[in-house]
Amino acid sequence: MALLNIDDIRIEFPSRRGTLVAVDGVSLALEKGEILGVVGESGAGKSTIGNAVIGLLESPGRLAGGQVRLDGERIDALDDAQKRKVRGRRIGMIFQDPLTSLDPLQTVESQLVETMQAHLRLSPAEARKRAVQLLTQVGIDNPELRVKQYPHQFSGGMRQRVVIALALCCEPEVIIADEPTTALDVSIQAQILDLLRRLCREEQVGMIIITHDMGVIADVTDRVAVLYRGKLVEQGPTAKILGNPDHPYTRSLISAVPRPDIKLKRFPLVTYIEDAREPARTLDISTHWLGRRRDFGASSGGPLLQVRDLSMRFVLKSAFFKRNERALDAVKRVSFDIGEGEVFGLVGESGSGKSTVARLISGLYTPTGGSVSFGAAELTALKGEKQLNPFRRQIQMIFQDPFSSLNPRMRVLDIVAEPIRFHRLCATDAETRQVVADLLDVVGLGGRAAERYPHEFSGGQRQRICIARALATRPRFLICDEPTSALDVSIQAQILNLLKDLQEQLGLTMLFISHDLPVIRQMCDRVGVMRHGELLEVAATEDLFERPQHAYSRHLLGLMPRLQAMSREGLEVEHTERSGT
C-alpha cells in the first residue's frame, strides 16, 4: 500500500451544455519521500486531480467515481469538517501564484501560527518558535526579523518560500505543488526546486508536482505521469519517459520541448495536436500580395535597425522638485544593430527591460534618451503620426498574451483587415477579404475563421490570428515579445515553426524577445543578454550558448534545465554558418 493512492477517479463538470469529463479513469500511487510529476498541457485535468485529492473541487465539479486513499484510509468520502482536518494537517498545498496565496493583511508569523494552532494545538509560544525554525528551514535569512513582516515585504521567490513553509508547518505526509515555479524567474525556480527536493528527502514527504514544464519534471521528479485530455497516457520513471517514451502523445510532447543543447532546423512535426492543421492550399508567397511589397526605399547597405544609447526612465512618483522624484531606469544606454533578414534575440529575467526595448523600438513608448534608426531614417527624431505612419507599416509586433491582444468584440475578418483598410493597401473590399482569407491560410487557420469571433479560438489559434494581423501590413521588421510564453509546449512548437517559415519566406527581420533560453537558441541568429536594463553581452547564438563571455550569461545558462535524458534520435540539427564567426 502506497502513501497516497488515487484509484480510477473520474471528475465531472456538469453544465447546461452537457457534462464535461475533466478526468477519466486516472490511477496514481505515491510513495513516501517520492516526487511524482504530473505533466500535461492546459485542459489536461492535472490541476483538477490535485484539487480533487484535497477536496477543493470547485463547484459544479464533482468526483463521479473512484477513490482517493491516504495511508489506506479513504479521504474522498469524508464530510467537510473531516476534510478540513486532512487538508493542511496531512496534505499540504503549494499554489502557483505566491502573490495571491498569502493573506496580505497578516504577518507571516500570524499566518504560520494560526495554521499550526488550528491543526497541531501548539501553544502560541511554541508555534512562534516553530515558525522561525520553518523559515530557517526554507532558507530565509534573518528569520527572527522576517517572521514579523508582511507578505508584500518579500520578493516573489521569498514569498514562495513562505508558502512552502506554510505547507510544511503541520508536518504533512503529502504535499501537492501546483505549478510551484511557473510564476518565478529561472534563477529563483532553480532554488525553489532544490528546496522542494531537499525537504522531500529530509522529511520523507511524498510530493506531487503538477506542471506543464518538462524542465521542472526533468529536474526534480522521480516518476512522471503524463495526462492528455483527462486520461493517463503513460507513467513511469522520469528518465525512461523523457528518454524513451512509449505513447505517441508523450513522444510528440517531448519533441516539442525546445532543446537547450542543440539547434534544430524545425521542431519535428507534432502530430498529436488537433489544431495543427496544415494550410488548405499552399500559397506561392513570392507572387502573392504578401510578397509584392512596396518599395521600402533603397537599402542603405548597413544594418536595418540601429539602436544607440537607448534609455528609458519611468517616473514612479512625480514631484515638484526633481530631487524628490522617484524614477526607475528601465533601460540604460542600450546599443545594438540588427541586420536585414536577421533574427536578433533579447533574453533576460523579468524586469530586465527587454519588453521596454521592444516598446521603444515600436514607438509605443518615447525614449528619454538615445536614438533608434530604421533604414536611413531616425525614428526617434520623427514627430507626429504623419511622419511615423510609413514606418508603422514596416514595423509590427506580436504580443505575449493572445487573450488580450485581440479585440473580443470584432470579427477575425475585421481584426486582420484593420491594418489593410487603414493603410489602404488593397483597392477593393473584395480584394481585402481575399487577402485576409489568404493570410489566415498562411498562418494555418483556414479562411473560414474570418467570420468568427476571437473567443471561439484557443490560445494557439489566437496567436496565429495575431501573426496574421501583424503580417497584414506587409512588414519588414517584426517584433515578437514573448510570443509563446502563454502557450503550451506543443502549440509553442507550432507557432515557432510558423514564425521560422514566415521569416524565411518573407525575408523578415525579427527582434525576438524571450526569457526562455532554449527557445532563443532555436529561433535566433544573434542574442543580447539583458539584466536590470543593461545589455551585458551580444554574441552569435551558438557562441553564447557554447562560450558565454559575461559572468551573468554563464549564470543564466547554468540554470537552464539540462534535459539530458531526452533522446536525440531522428532530429535534424541545424548547422548554422554564422556560428563561430
Partner: protein, 308 residues
C-alpha cells in the same frame, strides 16, 4: 439582411444572458410589467378610452367621479376622473408617455455625455483626466435632485415665461441628464484605464490608428457592458427625479401632465376622500420604477462573471 439577423437571434436565444433571464422569475415579471407600461404609453392615443387633453371632450359634470367599482362610479371612467373631468386611466397612460420620454431622453443624454468624458478622461490621462474627475467630484458632492433643481431654476430665470412652457420638457431632460453623467464617466474611465493597456489597443496603435478611432472602434464596445447596467438603473432614477420635480411644480407644465404632475394634482384632494386621483398615477409610477430597477439588478448580476 436576413442572413445577418437570423444568426443574431439564434445567438441571442443560445446566450447565457437569455438563459439567465428565463431562470429569473423576478426579471421576467419585471420585463412584462415594463413592456406593458411602455406599450400602453406608446400607443396611448389608440388604447386610452378618452383623450384627456382634448378640451372639447371634457365635461366638468364628470369631475371627481370615483373608480367604476366604487359607489357613484361610472363604467365610462374605469379609474375615475379628476377635478376637471379627465379620465384617470387615460391621464395615466398619457402621463407615462411624458415620464418615459423624459426618462429615456435624459438617460441617453447622460450616457452620451458621461461615456464620452469617461473615455477621454481614461485614455488621455494627465491634466485633462484630473480636471474632468475633479468636476465630477464637485458635482457628486451635491445631491442629483439639487443639481436638476438648480438648472431648472436658472432656465426659468433666463427664459421668458411663454417660451419656458414650450421648452420645459427639454430643460427638464437637460437638467436630469446633466445631474447623472458622473456615474457613467467614472465607470467608463475605470474600464478604459484597464482596456487601454491591453495588447489589442497597443496593436491598433502600432498600426497607426488615431486615438479617436481607437476609442470608438476598440475601447467603446468593450466598456459598454457596465454602462448598460447603469443606464437601466439610472432610467428608474431619472423617472423618479422627473416625477419629483413635477410634483414640486418645477417640471413639465400642467397642460401635458406627467405621472408626477398627476400625483401633485391629486395630492390636494387626498384628504377630501378623492384618493384615486393621486393613488393610480402613484401605483403606475411605482410599478414602472420597481420593474425597471429589478431589470437593472438582474442585468447587473447576469453580466457579473463573479456571481455566476
Amino acid at each position: 439582411m436576413n442572413t445577418r439577423i437570423a444568426p443574431f437571434f439564434a445567438r441571442a436565444a443560445d446566450s447565457d444572458l437569455w438563459h439567465s433571464f428565463k431562470r429569473t422569475p423576478g426579471a421576467v415579471i419585471a420585463a412584462i410589467v415594463t413592456l406593458a407600461i411602455v406599450l400602453g404609453a406608446v400607443f396611448a392615443p389608440v388604447v386610452a378610452p378618452h383623450n384627456p387633453f382634448d378640451l372639447a371632450s371634457l365635461n366638468i359634470m364628470d369631475a371627481n367621479t370615483p373608480p367604476s367599482w366604487e359607489e357613484g362610479g361610472s363604467p365610462d371612467f374605469l379609474l375615475g376622473t379628476d377635478d376637471q373631468g379627465r379620465d384617470i386611466l387615460s391621464a395615466v397612460l398619457y402621463g407615462s408617455r411624458v415620464s418615459l420620454l423624459v426618462g429615456f431622453a435624459s438617460v441617453l443624454f447622460s450616457m452620451v455625455l458621461g461615456v464620452s468624458l469617461g473615455l477621454v478622461s481614461g485614455y488621455a490621462g494627465g491634466r485633462l483626466d484630473s480636471f474632468i474627475m475633479r468636476v465630477a467630484d464637485v458635482q457628486l458632492s451635491f445631491p442629483a435632485i439639487l443639481v436638476a433643481l438648480l438648472i431648472d431654476g436658472v432656465a426659468r430665470g433666463i427664459l421668458p415665461r411663454d417660451m419656458h412652457d414650450e421648452l420645459a420638457l427639454y430643460v427638464l431632460i437637460f437638467a436630469i441628464g446633466i445631474s447623472g453623467w458622473v456615474q457613467y464617466a467614472r465607470t467608463v474611465r475605470g474600464s478604459t484605464l484597464v482596456e487601454r493597456n491591453k495588447e489589442y489597443v497597443q496593436a491598433a496603435r502600432l498600426i497607426g490608428i488615431g486615438p479617436f478611432t481607437i476609442l470608438r472602434r476598440h475601447i467603446l464596445p468593450n466598456v459598454m457592458g457596465p454602462v448598460l447596467v447603469i443606464a437601466t438603473i439610472h432610467l428608474a432614477v431619472a423617472i423618479i427625479t422627473e416625477a419629483t420635480l413635477s410634483f414640486l411644480g418645477v417640471g413639465v407644465p400642467p397642460t401635458a401632465p406627467s405621472l408626477g404632475t398627476l400625483i401633485r394634482i391629486g395630492n390636494s384632494y387626498l384628504f377630501s376622500g378623492m384618493w384615486w386621483i393621486s393613488i393610480f398615477p402613484g401605483i403606475a409610477l411605482v410599478a414602472l420604477v420597481l420593474s425597471v430597477n429589478l431589470l437593472g439588478d438582474w442585468l447587473r448580476d447576469a453580466l457579473n462573471p463573479k456571481l455566476r
